[in-house]
């Protein structure tokens, strides 16, 4: 690790260690300082004052997953957009339209999802 990256990301590393350290210190301090007493009822799951009803499992709807996929794809797109945003002026209009095409193709995907009613809930 060398040069600028080294210096910059050393700080990041230190921050990460400090962050985890802070949390650890807080948790340890809390475990020393706070009163504790175990009871069978205390560790029951909170459910508005009733004992849990039925199984724990919440049925997650498939549409959440589709939003997840949409997110992943647009996130990937963002990865290309970041370098593009800072260089496209140097490369001229062509680079701009390249990205427009790229975006258009993905927007078509969004449009498809829209038309398919994936973004619709009922």
């Amino acid at each position: 690790m060398h040069g600028e990256v080294a210096v910059n990301y050393t700080a990041v590393l230190i921050t990460a260690i400090a962050g985890f350290g802070l949390i650890a210190v807080l948790f340890v301090a809390s475990s020393i300082l706070s009163p504790r007493r175990y009871s069978e009822k205390k560790v029951t799951t909170y459910e508005c004052g009733m004992l849990p009803l039925g199984r724990f499992w919440t049925q997650v709807h498939i549409r959440y997953y589709i939003f997840g996929i949409l997110f992943v794809l647009f996130d990937v797109e963002a990865v290309f957009l970041f370098p593009w945003a800072i260089v496209f002026l140097r490369l001229g209009p062509v680079a701009f339209y390249e990205m427009v095409i790229f975006l258009a193709i993905l927007l078509f995907g969004l449009l498809y999802a829209w038309k398919k009613g994936v973004l619709q809930w009922k």
């Binding site: 020393i32 706070s34 009163p35 009822k41 205390k42 029951t44 909170y46 004052g49 009733m50």
Partner: protein, 176 residues
């Protein structure tokens, strides 16, 4: 009138547990005072109203009385709350949930019985389905009589609770 100070059953339970109490007495006494200050200044009740008194309790949170001045803000989950304000009639059917919620609250915790019903059964004392006073379900620290008590009466009850928290801390200090 003279008020007899009584150690909160819940706090009696809390004391004497945890590593903290192996520290030297001087330190624990000083920090106890600090912690008690913090605890009394940030009493978070459980969002929880049973009957008529709940309206006056809500009134106490609202602009004119503003419990937020005392650092009192409600949280919906028992896990994040310190105080349970039993505002209203505790019915036998509701006793079990109240007990469970009380159990689910982390230590240290306090309970305020607000209104005649929660203190003593009030006008519904003779009823076949009410609990005659919330102290039959959970240990109560402060009783606020009235039917319903006006918001200021609840504020007074909370001040009393704060005094009690401080008294408990200094009592412990004296013991050390």
């Amino acid at each position: 009138m003279e008020v007899v100070w009584r150690e909160s059953p819940s706090l009696a339970l809390a004391n004497g547990h945890g590593l903290y109490h192996h520290l030297p007495g001087v330190i624990t006494a000083k920090t106890d005072y600090l912690f008690a200050m913090a605890r009394k200044s940030s009493l978070w009740p459980l969002t929880f109203g049973l009957a008529c008194c709940a309206i006056e309790m809500i009134g106490a949170y609202m602009a004119e009385h503003d419990l937020d001045r005392f650092g009192v803000v409600t949280w919906p989950s028992p896990r994040q709350s310190d105080v349970m304000i039993i505002a209203g009639t505790a019915v036998k059917k509701m006793a079990e949930p109240i007990k469970l919620l009380w159990e689910q609250m982390p230590l240290p915790k306090w309970a305020i019985a607000m209104g005649a019903c929660a203190t003593d059964g009030g006008p519904f004392q003779r009823s076949y389905s009410t609990v005659q006073g919330a102290d039959q379900i959970i240990p109560i620290d402060v009783y606020v009589p009235g039917c319903p008590p006006r918001p200021q009466a609840l504020l007074y009850g909370i001040i009393k609770l704060q005094e009690k928290i401080m008294a408990e801390a200094s009592n412990r200090k004296a013991a050390v």
